[in-house]
Amino acid sequence: MMNKLGITASQTVGPFLKIALEGEGQEHVVSEKTEGALKIHGYVYDGEGQPVPDAVIEIWQANVHGKYNHPEDTSEADLVPDFSGFGRSCTDEDGYFFLVTLKPGRVAGRGNSLQAPHAAVNVFARGMLKQQVTRLYFSDEVDANSEDPVLNSIEEEAARKTIIAQLDDVEGIPTYKFDIHLQGKFETVFFDV
């Protein structure tokens, strides 16, 4: 086996991440006027339930047809012009973040499985030496969620619920609540990828 190069280790984003990571329009994967647009919003909390005002939440998702805008996705589903699938939101002083996007289609899982609509989520913050990875699923996808291999790998139902965004408002555009608890009683399920 060839000797591999050692990787570049992670370090915290620190408290001043907004200098570079905050930018106009990054929360909008699509405009709110796009047909099917939905909002994902929530708060980031620490182990004492205090808001985390210096976090960055990033999502990566497939388009409405279940196709990633990436050459490794060789499925026959259609690409959607101008849909990148990437969004980013820096939390404000209350720990609040939001993203506007479309619900992704279902993409293949391992083997012959099919995954429920979901986004991959990276969470960075001061006090985190490396990011934590989670996923976001949708509460109104009950059937698809019930057969998702990753959701089903979480044994406790209460834990599974921490990564299912709850449809809580349909005023204007559908809005899903997705709080992230870095630690504590309601600790979000995080993944080793």
């Binding site: 570049t8 960075f124 030496l129």
Partner: protein, 234 residues
């Protein structure tokens, strides 16, 4: 069916742990539950590519603002983005932020009473070229105090955010400068368990790429996770 080859996992041991007691803010910001392993699917193997990102002129030069030179020692930082298999990572976005030469960030949360520099913002972006190479110009950042413990000072560093070719190659890190006397006292640097992994975050002075009468030069290579050699059958 045959699944796509995933990304290697062993290299992740070089990252710091989520809880490192000497860095106090980790105590309430690390998960206590065990992480659940996801075998890589299309979700993890793909990721945002930013191939259409159009950089504005000057985004790769932090040393000039309002057509005026920033205070401090001008430096170039250059190197390559590679993966573990030594394969170049082309066209990848690198976001950069740092404090000024006096050790002050242009951020309302930074209360360190060192002066702000009207000609220094401390934000930049570059994209690696087809060979994985990148270069930018900036000012050597200063060390600054922070509240982690009595008389705590961060060694001079530049923050970087990189994406690479997939969701799982994403990394945010900090680059340090050679021979910094603050290394032994910095819990963020020392949170990395392996000594050689720590040393890989230290840039190298390079006389050959300095520019006489203009700027010093430091070299720094990024190494992102690489693919496993072969796909395996499920």
């Amino acid at each position: 069916m045959t699944d796509l080859a995933g990304y290697s996992r062993k290299s992740k041991d070089d990252h710091p742990p989520a809880l490192y007691e000497e860095y106090k803010s980790t105590s309430l910001r690390h998960p206590k539950r065990e992480l659940i392993r996801i075998d890589h699917t299309l979700t993890e193997i793909t990721g945002p590519l930013f191939e259409d990102t159009e950089l504005q002129s000057g985004e790769d030069d932090l040393s000039i603002e309002n057509n005026e030179d920033a205070q401090g020692q001008r430096i170039f930082v250059s190197g390559r983005v590679l993966d573990e298999n030594a394969k170049p990572v082309p066209n990848t976005l690198i976001e950069i932020w740092q404090c000024n030469a006096a050790g002050r960030y242009r951020h309302p949360g930074d209360q360190h009473p060192a002066p702000l520099d009207p000609n220094f913002v401390g934000r930049g972006r570059v994209v690696s070229n087809s060979k994985g190479e990148y270069k930018f110009t900036t000012i050597k950042p200063g060390a600054y105090p922070w509240g982690n413990h009595y008389n705590a000072w961060r060694p001079a560093h530049i923050h970087y955010s990189l994406f690479g070719p997939s969701f799982v190659t994403r990394v945010v890190t900090q680059m340090y400068f050679p021979d910094d006397p603050l290394f032994p006292f910095d819990p963020i640097y020392n949170s990395i368990p392996d000594e050689s992994a720590r040393e890989r975050l230290v840039s190298r002075f390079d006389l050959d790429t300095t520019e006489p009468d203009f700027a010093l030069s430091f070299k720094f290579d990024f190494v992102l996770r690489g693919r496993e050699a072969t796909p395996f059958e499920d």
